[in-house]
């Protein structure tokens, strides 16, 4: 026989009759959440199969690259050669590593090329592959020309191209992520792009603070502050709008990562804007904190998504609410 009384069956109030539809399998730890029903607590959605290191890493590196290309263009226009060079080389390094991470996630390079068979506007991944296909070579030529001094005009054109595509590279990944059924991601699709570009700005600024002498890093310090303010504001808006699903950003692995990210973002920006103006070591510490913060943000958002897919509560409860508010009670 089936295990009576085990494996589910929320007991009704003592002595009262339990109608079948109220006695539903729930795991013991959910007994206190009376509004929630599920199938033995099993997830409804499939978790992303992506490895966090590959995909969250890819989001972090891509963001850093995109914003760095923009920073490099500004540096070139305002005659800050060290900032320009560090940002160009950083962009190339980051985008190369991010492609390695992507290919690693796919398993082999041919699978990346497979995506260039088609262009599908309904698939942000397809759009992204084409954008990267244009951006990565531009970033490469820009960095190579800056380092070697060869073909300067072509290098400048490539740097301009990379700067034009940079903001797209830094933001499209948020659409990639939000165009899924994962509640913590999709429900936040309005704020997520702002979190992503702000985090990208912090990372690019952080890299510059680490790699560039203080007298050329002024714009990076300003950008660090702007990125920090933007990121804190956008994530606050995101979690305050999500309702129940916001829990996934506050608790568990995601909660730890995101709290760490917030502290390091604020600390990095403040340190960079104060002591970082004068001494190189302070500037480097601030930059490292910003880089780490940006990485933590990406890994935290990733973990929140996984948590929201794992627990059917985050699927059922918001959908029930939506349905209830769409059909006014008779």
């Amino acid at each position: 026989m089936a295990p009576r009384g085990r494996g589910g069956g929320r007991a009704g109030p003592r002595g009262r009759r339990v109608v079948p539809r109220r006695a539903v399998p729930v795991s013991p730890r959910r007994r206190r959440e009376p509004e929630f029903i599920s199938y033995y607590g099993r997830p409804i959605l499939n978790e992303p199969v992506w490895a966090a290191t590959d995909i969250a890493g890819y989001f972090f590196l891509g963001g850093m690259a995109g914003a760095s290309s923009l920073l490099a263009a500004g540096a070139e226009l305002t005659d800050r050669p060290a900032l320009a060079r560090a940002s160009k080389v950083g962009a190339l390094g980051a985008i190369s590593l991010s492609l390695v991470a992507l290919v690693h996630d796919l398993g082999r390079p041919a699978r990346f090329l497979n995506m260039l068979r088609v262009f599908k506007p309904t698939s942000p991944m397809s759009v992204g592959v084409w954008v990267l296909g244009a951006y990565a070579p531009a970033a490469g030529i820009a960095a190579a020309s800056d380092l070697t001094g060869i073909a300067r005009p072509a290098g400048r054109a490539a740097a301009a191209g990379a700067a034009a595509l940079g903001p797209v590279v830094a933001s499209y990944t948020s659409v990639l992520m939000c165009n899924t059924a994962i509640p913590a991601w999709h429900e936040g699709y309005r704020e997520m792009p702002f979190v992503f570009v702000a985090s990208a700005a912090s990372a690019a600024a952080g890299l510059a603070l680490v790699a560039v002498p203080c007298d050329q890093a002024g714009p990076a310090r300003t950008l660090a502050v702007a990125g920090a303010v933007g990121e804190l504001a956008a994530s606050h808006r995101l979690t305050s709008r999500l309702g129940l699903v916001a829990d996934t950003y506050d608790t568990g692995r995601a909660g730890t990562l995101i709290k760490a990210a917030k502290v390091m973002t604020a600390a990095g920006a403040v340190l960079g804007a104060t002591a970082g103006r004068r001494t190189r070591p302070a500037s480097m510490v601030a930059g490292a904190a910003l880089l780490a913060a940006s990485a933590c943000t990406r890994f935290g958002i990733f973990a929140a998504g996984v948590a929201s897919a794992r627990d059917p509560k985050y699927v059922v409860a918001p959908q029930r609410e939506r349905r209830a508010s769409a059909t006014p009670a008779a």
Partner: protein, 281 residues
């Protein structure tokens, strides 16, 4: 092909035509009437045999007689067993619900929308199928599916799910699961016909006092434009592990790109602004 078009949300009557098929056959689908399912799992077995789906681990879960647990790359049909102690109004102290779940072959299929290789495609019958030799295992379809259906098979790294036996449909046969079902709980046919039949069945059940009988996934107005595989349930969808109000997220894609565009613009402005103020450093 649909590769260059954004999803056009028509009335959902004919996704094959919307995809660009000229004069396709009628849309085919499944109506799974769970009120007559006996939980024999013949559908699970028939599907595995016909489609040569590998075994997915012989594991005693202990949660119920359901040892398949859910749909996966290696379970394209899944019979859910809801076993509950309960004191019902008719005096029975236990209830069993059984339901055979499957890919919904959505009218607006998120898996198909997001696939960057075109491995997932719409057939002339309006169903959704993965081409194993094109899929690159990117895994995008997996979190995109609002029903948690499609999954990556570890052994080959590719995405797999119910094909609604595309190979059998092409030669005028019904899918293996429907063929094997001894009670006709799984019915295959033209979607229009199935919808009409399902409507009559619910009415009959209601008339017989089974008030909890409800259709799920039958409505072309729902978040996925209606399912090619829909169900008659005897309780709320989430009791069976189904989402109560699934939505194809591609519906919001234009808005997502607009927000991303605004964010990208903000990034340009902010970086630009950080260079203002001359070389004050």
């Amino acid at each position: 092909m649909s590769d260059f078009t954004l999803p056009v949300h028509h009335d959902g009557a004919d996704p094959a035509r919307d995809t660009g098929y000229v004069d396709p056959p009628p849309r085919m689908g499944f109506f799974t009437d769970t009120s007559i399912c006996i939980g024999c799992k013949a559908c699970e077995v028939a599907c595995k045999e016909w489609n040569e789906v590998p075994e997915d681990g012989l594991e005693w879960t202990g949660m119920s007689f359901d040892n398949t647990q859910g749909l996966s790359a290696d379970s394209w049909r899944h019979v859910a067993f809801i076993e509950q102690p309960a004191v019902a109004e008719d005096g029975k102290d236990f209830r069993w619900l059984m339901a055979s779940d499957v890919c919904k072959h959505c009218t607006h299929a998120a898996c198909l929308d997001v696939c960057p290789t075109g491995a997932l495609f719409r057939t002339e019958f309006g169903t959704v199928v993965v081409q194993d030799d094109v899929c690159n295992g990117c895994g995008y379809c997996v979190p995109a599916c609002p029903y948690g259906v499609v999954a990556i098979r570890e052994s080959d790294g590719g995405a797999h799910k119910c094909t609604l036996c595309y190979d059998r449909l092409e030669v005028g046969q019904e899918p293996a699961c429907a063929k094997a079902c001894p009670t006709d709980s799984i019915q295959f046919g033209e979607l229009e016909t199935l919808r009409a039949r399902a409507g009559e069945r619910v009415e009959a059940l209601h008339a017989a006092g089974v008030e909890e009988a409800q259709l799920y996934g039958h409505d072309p107005e729902d978040g996925v434009g209606g399912d090619g595989a829909f169900f008659l349930l005897l309780d709320e969808p989430e009791v069976y592990g189904l989402p109560p109000d699934p939505v194809v997220t591609t519906r919001d894609l234009a808005s997502m790109w607009r927000h991303a565009g605004a964010a990208a613009g903000a990034l340009v402005l902010v970086v630009g602004a950080s260079f203002l103020g001359g070389r004050s450093r």
